[in-house]
């Protein structure tokens, strides 16, 4: 018997354990939230900690492989006297998954997607996704309803404003979407479209597939009424 699964679980556990520290977790979330790289000062300010404490924890996150570092000169300055390039942080690529006890929903999802694709059931999937989005919007009963941006943040899409367009920094279905783009991106668009009308001020919003040329983020872009 191989102990490969135990080894890879241990690696994920080690990584996740790095996020056990609340300050570190907050800094990770601050950096991961947007598409751009974040400097120490900005991260420290957003997390409400000192610059030196932020620097210490950010470097621990880099060591754990959760963040990567880029160096960039601050805008508008070059040549002698411009100073050293600033150290910036951004989320490292890759996914980490851990289930106790072991579960393998991703392999089931892949199989089901393959069958749906072969059977040509794109439209059936889209209408089911639209209904699922509407059902998400309907709950929880009685509580105050979030607006579309808050709702998408809650669902892990990591929304950010690109001028008048709301883009999504994270694709929650990333590896499946890479394998079945037409199927999964169409499903995701329908899910978000289904979710919008039930949100606070969501009525006039429109969603469309508008992928950026970079292989990151979600293909769906949204706009409040009249913006697209």
């Amino acid at each position: 018997m191989s102990n490969d699964n135990t080894d890879s679980d241990d690696a994920v556990l080690d990584t996740v354990a790095v996020l056990g520290d609340p300050v570190r977790r907050k800094l990770y979330r601050v950096v991961a939230a947007g598409p751009g790289a974040v400097g120490r000062d900005a991260a420290a300010a957003a997390a409400g900690v000192s610059r030196s404490l932020a620097a210490f924890h950010l470097d621990r996150l880099v060591e754990a492989g959760l963040l990567t570092v880029t160096y960039q000169r601050l805008s508008g300055r070059s040549g002698p006297g411009a100073g050293r390039p600033a150290k910036l942080y951004q989320r490292a690529p890759g996914e980490r998954e851990l289930s106790l006890p072991p579960r393998s929903y991703d392999s089931v999802a892949r199989l089901l997607a393959d069958v749906v694709e072969r059977a040509g059931l794109d439209r059936e999937l889209q209408s089911a996704a639209r209904e699922a989005g509407a059902a998400l919007a309907a709950e929880p009963a009685g509580s105050c309803r979030a607006d579309p941006e808050a709702e998408l943040r809650e669902r892990g899409y990591e929304p950010y404003w690109d001028q008048a367009v709301l883009r999504l920094h994270n694709c929650p279905f990333r590896s499946l979407a890479e394998e079945f783009p037409a199927l999964i991106c169409g499903m995701n668009l329908a899910l978000i479209e289904g979710l919008l009308p039930g949100r606070a001020d969501g009525e006039g919003w429109t969603a469309t597939l508008d992928p950026l040329p970079v292989p990151d983020g979600c293909c769906v872009a949204l706009a409040p009424k009249g913006e697209i």
């Binding site: 072969r118 059977a119 040509g120 059931l121 794109d122 439209r123 783009p181 037409a182 199927l183 991106c185 169409g186 668009l189 469309t208 597939l209 508008d210 992928p211 950026l212 040329p213 970079v214 292989p215 293909c219």
Partner: protein, 161 residues
Amino acid sequence: MADFHLAQVNVGRILAPLDGPVLADFVAQLPEINALADGSPGFVWRLVDDDGADSTSVRPDDRDDMLLINLSVWESVQALKDFTYRSDHLKVLSRRREWFERLAEHHLALWWVPAGHRPTVAEAVQRVALLREHGEGPEAFTFRSPHPAPDATPTPAPATP
């Protein structure tokens, strides 16, 4: 300058006549999507019919009036992939089943051609047939298991100690 370019063929059976209401949205978006392809990084060539705008009047199988073909050449697999999945082309792709039948067999084939070569419809149809008969290989493959271009420099083997 690369010696080889990537050829792509896609065949699809439309659900209804091109000039009817079912295909209207598809037909309306063709000029925009074709212009997008023409201007995409790594685009080399695409098949057009006598009208010169697109290939919707070409029939790869003269016994089947509903079967359309789309044939193009790109500088690399990545260039074609970026256009297919990371541009507005994805919008029409996600609506494919509103306009095109599901095909149980392979309907897309990729293969490498010498730079400057313009594949013919017969050649393209033959590549799809090859894929259907023998599965993926260097002569006909899909995005799932792309084969490197024939001139791609192989990585040197590590020196034996």
